[in-house]
Amino acid sequence: MATAIRMRSLADPPVAGAAAAEAAVQPANLRNVEEVMTPPLAIKRHDVGGAPPVAPAVAQPAMGARLLGRLRTQLGSLALSVLSIGLLLGFWYLGTEYRWDFYIRFTNVPTPGEVYTEFMGLIGSAKFQANIGISLGRIMLGFCIATGLGVLLGLLCGRYALLKGLLFPALEVLRPIPAIAWVPISIMLWPTTETSIVFITFIGAFFPILLNTLHGVAAVDPVLIRAARCLGAGEVALMTRVILPGALPHIFTGLAVGMGVAWVSLIAAEMISGQFGVGYFTWEAYSLIEYPHIVIGMLVIGVLGLLCSGGIRLLSRLVMPWQRVGTKENA
């Protein structure tokens, strides 16, 4: 009790009259303060039970609410998408229906209705379907060769500076040449039109894939390579089990870009030198004054391109499941 009172006297501002008396008591006060500062520990333990380490289940209670929230945001973005496309169609409709002519001329552009009717007629035609199939086949072939070669060379050049030194100056000279500029020489080089078109598609996809793979190899954390070597990994295992998976995120960026460029290159090649294919179909429609077919060709190209990019995104998710897990806790 006495301790508590002296404490108080220390804490309170000294009253003027009591100042002298206060000073006299000071040493004793200090000693008592020290006593108070180190009281017997009275730790009160709360029973929280044992907590064995258990893998955290995916947050279940919030599941319903989260799903609802996601649905809401998705509905919102869906509404915006519909509006966006609706505006585009509306602009097209107005322009063509009223034959707008203000520098840009809509006079010969087919209306959405005309395009729709023509499309309904075309969709069952074997020739039209064959055109689509042929374009897809060319893309697949050119793109797959580009992927195989681009990834392989990218991995090797990324790992072996000598090989990179040997190959890259030559590749750097060729790289800025757009795939379309390869059309004439490609027709001369390859025995058939078909192979030359596939070659041009390949050229378009190859460089983005190669460069991104190279980037990916450089981005692999060196400590992972050290760790693998300590665990007894040889050169081949290092390549296939560490460097390749480590570079995959960049490789998929390369594939997505490559796919886009492959379509650009393919359509250009088909328009210039082709027989068959969607690009050829579109250009032929212009020559034959079948204007609705031009728009149909364009839309088909757009949709196919979209499907191919979507396919690559899907593939990247399947191949890199670890990319989807976030850091859930931190030590």
Binding site: P53, V54, A55, D221, V223, L224, R226, A227, A228, R229, C230, L231, G232, A233, G234, A237, R241, V242, P245, G246, L248, M320, P321, W322, V325, G326, T327, K328, E329, N330, A331
Partner: protein, 288 residues
């Protein structure tokens, strides 16, 4: 008597008169000079020193990442020629393969040895069980906390049954609480496995708690300043950290390292009086 025992057991690290030099702006500099260090089979040895003193360089030599400019580096009498599965390494940065699940990470070394799937799996699961991580075997590393990641890292390094475990500030990235728990886990695991450990750290308490012997290094160029046996009994417990022996060792090591830290930070501190003024002590350096 000791020598015959040492010959029978494996995992003897022997560094003799090691020098590592590099060139900077055309001038040759020594990172490490005249280092002789010895880890007997089954011994837990720490190397402490101020940052940049070349402690990690020594570990990299034993791991086979780096060739010394001079001197001899041997494990069990054989010169070190490169990295290998006979020496497990635990890195400061979590070096788990992010694309492999926890168990696949642990199995990596066994796979490299050509072990069959079933055997690999059961071995990895046993080890993960010992480390209390079995329920996380199908998680990806990014789903784990830092302490867990590092436990997986240790388990992975041990999976191939190395005679030597090299640890480069393995708990440096962890918070203080997790670090203490990890030290206890490590000392327990070591107690069971009894393999040779070369442990690099700048944490004095950690080095005393874990080791049989602590080497103190000087500021660059790194040399061995002192070799301090730790006479604390085994198994080590958290309570020992407040024993008089522990405290005395702590003071001794701290004084040794303090000199070197000051040297590493440059002479101007000494001229300012800090080098002599021991009473300023911890607060003086902390305030900097």
């Amino acid at each position: 008597m000791m020598t015959s025992e040492a010959k029978a057991a494996k995992g003897h690290i022997d560094l003799r008169d090691i020098r590592v030099s590099f060139t900077q702006n055309g001038a040759a500099l020594d990172a490490v000079r005249g280092v002789t260090l010895d880890v007997k089979p089954g011994e837990f040895v720490s190397v402490v020193g101020p940052s940049g003193c070349g402690k990690s360089t020594l570990l990299n030599i034993v791991a086979g990442f780096l060739k010394p400019s001079a001197g001899e580096a041997r494990v069990d009498g054989l010169p070190i020629s490169g990295p290998g599965a006979d020496r497990g390494v635990v890195f400061q940065q979590y070096s788990l393969f992010p694309w492999l699940k926890v168990r696949e990470n642990v199995e990596f070394g066994l796979k490299m040895q050509g072990m069959g799937r079933a055997e690999r799996e059961s071995r990895a699961r046993t080890l993960l069980g010992l480390a209390g991580l079995l329920s996380f075997e199908n998680h990806y590393p990014d789903q784990l906390s830092g302490g867990m990641k590092q436990r997986v890292g240790i388990v992975r390094a041990l999976a191939t049954g190395p005679q030597v475990l090299l640890m480069d500030e393995p708990f440096g990235a962890l918070d203080a609480q997790t670090r203490v728990v990890m030290q206890e886990i490590l000392t327990n695991m070591w107690q069971q496995l009894r393999l040779s450990v070369l442990f690099i750290t700048h944490d004095i308490e950690e080095s005393i708690f874990l080791s049989d012997k602590v080497y103190v290094m000087t500021a660059r160029p790194g040399r061995i300043k002192a070799e301090i046996p730790i006479p604390l009994p085994r198994p080590r417990t958290a309570e020992m950290t407040s024993s008089p022996t522990f405290m005395a060792l702590h003071r001794q090591l701290k004084a040794l390292i303090r000199e070197e830290s000051l040297a590493a930070m440059g002479g101007e501190l000494k001229e300012g009086g800090l080098g002599q003024d021991w009473h300023l002590g911890e607060q003086g350096v902390g305030a900097l």
